[in-house]
Amino acid sequence: MAGKAEVTVITYRGIFQEVEEALGMYSEGYRDQSALVVLDKGEVKELGVEDGQPVILENGFGKVVVTAKLSEDPHPGVAFMPSSPWSAQLASGEVGEDGILDLKRFRAQVSKANEAVTTIEEIGERIRAA
């Protein structure tokens, strides 16, 4: 059954992502370690989302397609995503009075995707096309 679920996305840095970033952010390895979201398996079952398959993450700030990783540990309403150019497309551009940005947390809708994972080149084009 197709549909959308609303989640709070928390970003984090992972060691394998750090390694791939050092080895070059235009690589497939960096995309594999960055363009992903960890979802609560039980929560997204109804959306038809499967482990390793692409999902759309979108909100009022942007939209990206990333790979779903389904976790056995329940964390309903919360998804985890490496902090990366992919997560940055969804982070709020609103700047607090103190100048601090909330890059660690945002709300997004998740749904099954029938398109390929967004590439870093596509993200670069979107930024340039502004």
């Binding site: 952010m25 601090i100 940005l101 670069g124 930024i127 340039r128």
Partner: protein
């Protein structure tokens, strides 16, 4: 002995057999450090103007033209620059009468500023290794971001007063929204909080330390934590980006907690900074202006959030990004604003920011291709030598040449 500038631990005990641009054999280099060495041959930046290759001299001249022709310049980045380049950057900002800033303006800057101002007690990583019996990792996952943090300093090693290491002498407490690799090591010391729940956790901990019953689900676990912290002989709190972003600009609760812990025993604060010389930039600017980021030299010295990149992008008409990749980190809406501003990008490697720059100026990789000095995340100054030969210019030379040209 070689040196690693892969993160702000600045490991100085690296043994490496490096031949033909590849590591043949190494001791003490973590995975991330290994990749940092391997990166020397990957995605190197070339000098260019408007996408066309030029010589380095032409690139530096074009960069100076961009800066000199603008009214409101922002010099941003600096975490991956040597102390000498950072010092030259502050001088350039003064000469141009412009704004200088680093990523701490939208993340951990307030905590670092309180440390540099002496408002939060601090200590060195070597003190941690020798004396610390309780390490709190708050919104911080050093196992991923600073892979040798726990093994060199904060949890596993034997130290002067900590001969029995983590088995008996040390306690790791992790406060985080997810069970990170560091939280898995801490096991029973892991406190899972709700997203944005750091303030609430602090209140509960303060109540516990004040002898009250905390308003949390697992009261026993919180009371045990209170006892552990009270009994600590030498405690340290490592603050990560998770804490900084959750608290925003309001450090009052955290300051109260640090104050209370220091009434009871001794607790230091060390920020977990990502770029190898983030602390160096914050210290350099602080020594000159009393502020760690977001400084304008337009009319003397002005400081405020309006001079942090997130806000100043609305006002600036030229930007120079040094050793950083804000286009990859800033929210997409801000990265798009950045792309509209004429930009000079100074870096060793290509990234999303160099891709949108009008002028690119390549530099040598500090710690590998060129020597220099930097401050570790705990503030300790370290000097390093070049490890391999390189034709790339040192970052300080690029900034100094620009200073002469503007």
């Amino acid at each position: 002995m070689a040196f690693c500038t892969g993160c702000s631990l600045l490991c100085d005990d690296i043994e490496v057999d490096f031949q033909g641009g590849k590591i043949k054999k190494t001791m003490n280099l973590c995975r991330k450090g290994h990749a940092h060495y391997d990166s020397l041959g990957v995605d190197r930046l070339a000098p260019a103007v408007d996408g066309s290759s030029v010589g380095i001299d032409e690139a530096v001249s074009a960069a100076a033209e961009v800066l000199a022709g603008a009214e409101n310049v922002l010099l941003f980045g600096w975490g991956n620059s040597t102390l000498a380049a950072q010092g030259a950057g502050v001088k350039l900002a003064k000469k141009l009468g412009c704004v200088i800033d680093d990523p701490s303006s939208y993340s951990q800057g307030l905590i670092t500023e309180k440390i540099l101002a002496g408002d939060f007690p601090t200590c060195t990583f070597d003190d941690v290794r020798n004396f610390a019996d309780v390490s709190i990792y708050w919104g911080d996952d050093p196992s991923s971001s600073h892979p040798r943090h726990m093994s060199r300093f904060s949890y596993f090693p034997r130290g002067e007063k900590r001969q029995r290491g983590y088995e008996e002498d040390r306690e790791a407490i992790v406060i985080d929204v997810r069970k990170s690799p560091t939280a898995q090591i801490a096991a029973d010391g892991f406190f899972k909080i709700l997203p944005g729940g750091d303030g609430e956790f602090m209140e509960a901990l303060m109540a516990t330390l004040g002898g009250k019953i905390p308003k949390v689900e697992d009261k026993k676990k919180m009371l045990n934590l209170g006892t552990k912290l009270r009994k600590a002989k030498f405690g340290v709190i490592f603050t990560g980006p998770g804490l900084a972003h959750s608290l925003g600009g309001d450090l009052a609760g955290f300051a109260s907690l640090v104050g209370r812990l220091n009434e009871l025993t001794r607790f230091s604060v060390i920020p977990s900074l990502s770029d190898y010389n983030s602390r160096g930039f914050n210290q350099t600017l602080f020594d000159k202006t009393g502020h760690v980021n977001g400084v304008s030299f337009k009319n003397g010295v002005d400081h405020g959030p309006e001079f942090g990149i997130a806000k100043y992008l609305d006002a600036c008409d030229a930007v120079m990004v040094v050793g950083s990749d804000p286009a990859a980190v800033l929210p997409g809406t801000l990265a798009k604003k950045l792309a509209k501003v004429p930009m000079v990008a100074v870096n060793s490697f290509k990234n999303l920011t160099t891709d949108i720059a009008k002028v690119t100026v390549p530099t040598a990789v500090a710690g590998l291709e060129v020597g220099g000095s930097a401050l570790r995340a705990d503030g300790l100054r370290v000097e390093f030598d070049a490890f391999v030969e390189s034709d790339y210019l040192p970052d300080v030379e690029v900034v100094e040449r620009m200073m002469e040209a503007v």
